[in-house]
């Protein structure tokens, strides 16, 4: 597989490392950037163990897996990203952090490099508002875990140029992703519909329309969802759900997006979901995806 796009991923957390895996697996040389060596090393560790697992499971040959892992390098200086073709920003979901980083980045990368922002709840236009070349900034929202989820939501900011949009689609296709095109509106498609749905389920629970167990049994049986809303919330984490909900509510001022009071009570009690051993359910094992 030949993919000559040189890719930089900003942010070596779960999302950033996952996006690095997707690009490297498609043949792109990838530089994974974060603010210090420890974070970069942690991200590279995620990349290496993903490819080791791929080889173990027979998804990739040992050779392909080794080569893909070797395509990902780590950097802690933005200057080293001077000759990349595509930058994918996947740093924490904080508007100021993203704006500042992109402003510094644009001084370093070539004027034709695409700048992608992997935001889920912020405005692409706002993220691009302090760069001098907002025409090449495009929103590309990957799903978690990125190496396993094919979907990317693509949203242009107000100043995104058609050439950047087209080049973004071509790049995403070249790394094997499935694209849906949407608008720079809060939550894009997925969170726009998921968050009010989850909040409605939480409110139905509080209103006594069912129990955690009955609602979680009924929804997959009647609607073909892979799991019930409360199992999903326990995986997502109540803190994360609260943050995403609040952020969408702040932008939309629509009460369906406001986190229901039960969410705040659960957070106050430390019942965040699987990661704390208790959310809507109680767990002995706090790992999210098996071993």
């Amino acid at each position: 597989m030949v993919n000559t796009n040189r890719v930089a991923v900003l942010g070596a957390g779960t999302m950033g490392s996952g996006i690095a895996v997707v690009a490297a697996r498609a043949g792109c040389p990838v530089l994974l950037y974060d603010v210090d060596a420890a974070r970069v090393e942690r991200g590279l560790g995620i990349v290496r163990s993903f490819f080791a697992k791929s080889a173990q499971l027979g998804k990739l040959s040992q050779e392909d897996a080794d080569n893909a892992a070797a395509r990902v390098g780590g950097v802690i200086e933005l200057d080293q990203l001077n000759d990349v073709d595509v930058v994918v920003e996947a740093v924490p979901e904080d508007l100021n952090i993203k704006k500042q980083l992109l402003t510094r980045l644009e001084a370093v990368v070539s004027p034709t490099a695409l700048i992608h922002t992997n935001t889920s709840t912020l405005s692409v236009t706002a993220i691009a508002s302090t760069v001098r070349t907002p025409e090449r900034v495009v929103g590309t929202h990957y799903c978690n875990p990125a190496p396993l989820m094919k979907l990317v939501e693509v949203a242009d900011g107000r100043k995104t140029a058609p050439w950047a949009h087209e080049a973004t689609l071509a790049f995403l296709r070249s790394i094997g992703q499935v694209i849906v095109e949407t608008k720079d509106r809060p939550g894009f498609i997925l969170n726009r519909f998921l968050i009010p749905w989850e909040n409605a389920c939480i409110r139905a629970l509080e209103a006594g329309l069912g129990t955690v167990e009955s609602i979680d049994a009924a929804v997959p049986a009647a609607l073909g969802h892979p799991m019930g809303p409360f199992r999903l919330l326990d995986i997502v984490g109540m803190d994360v759900h609260h943050q995403v909900s609040s952020r969408l509510y702040e932008q939309l001022r629509d009460p369906r997006f406001a986190p229901p009071p039960l969410v705040e009570r659960m957070i106050a009690a430390g019942d965040l979901g699987r990661k704390t051993g208790r959310g809507f359910y109680t767990y002995n094992d706090t790992r999210l995806f098996g071993s």
């Binding site: 989820m149 139905a204 009955s214 969802h225 892979p226």
Partner: protein, 288 residues
Amino acid sequence: MAGTFQRIGILGYGKMGGGIAQVCAQAGCEVVVLDINANQIAAGQARVADFLAEGVRRGKVTADQRAEVLARIRGVEAAEGLAGVELVIEAATERRDVKRELLTRVAAAVGEDAIITTNTSAISVTDLATSVTRPERFAGLHFFNPAQLMKLVEIVAALQTSEETVTRLNGFVGAIGKLPIVVKDRPGFLINYLLMPYLNDVIQELDNGLASAEDIDTAIKLGLGYKQGPLELLDLIGLDVHNHATHSAYEATLDARFAPPALLQAMVAAGRIGNKSGQGFRTTEAKA
């Protein structure tokens, strides 16, 4: 035999009534289906026979089993033909006046011990319960379409419904191989109460140009793992059916989340009501 009920009466031999009749007969019950004339009954029987023939073709049931199931279902044109049934499941037209008149007539024919249920999705069960004597034996038994394939059955406890009635229906639903959940008598019960605002929201955002119908469905399926996208689901349900259901819920609650979006009303007005009309949000005539 399904739980404590051996003889089941179904009111209405439409798609839903026929599906429920088949499910009960497959569980070993004797089923009597009431409809208004011989033509309706013949059409209902033919639908069940076809459904089971497809099951034979796919190896889900044997030809003998098909014959046995069909032999357990009998059509009748008069309510008196239901005498002796222990459980009635009403699956007639979704109109309050039609259901009330029918339930009153049937309650008189089946006797005071029979449990009487309605498969309504849009009418208050508590209201329908007042159309029969001994309303404590009345409840909602809400199957999903197609009843043969959908696992979930909502048992709707009206204000009048007794504990005993709920317990017996719970046993029955389990015995016919379905998953029972007990829900309150609210517009939409549980599933449609959650589903309708979500579908309305999707229709409104489609109209607002958030994304194409295809991209919305793709995002929901790939991103959330749902078996169906919301717009293809609407085409399957029927836009007219959804419009009626959400309009009923809106009238009952005056909750704006249930208000039929303008685009939904326009699609219904234009006759673009989904798969059955060959045109909907995702269906095009070429495909149908």
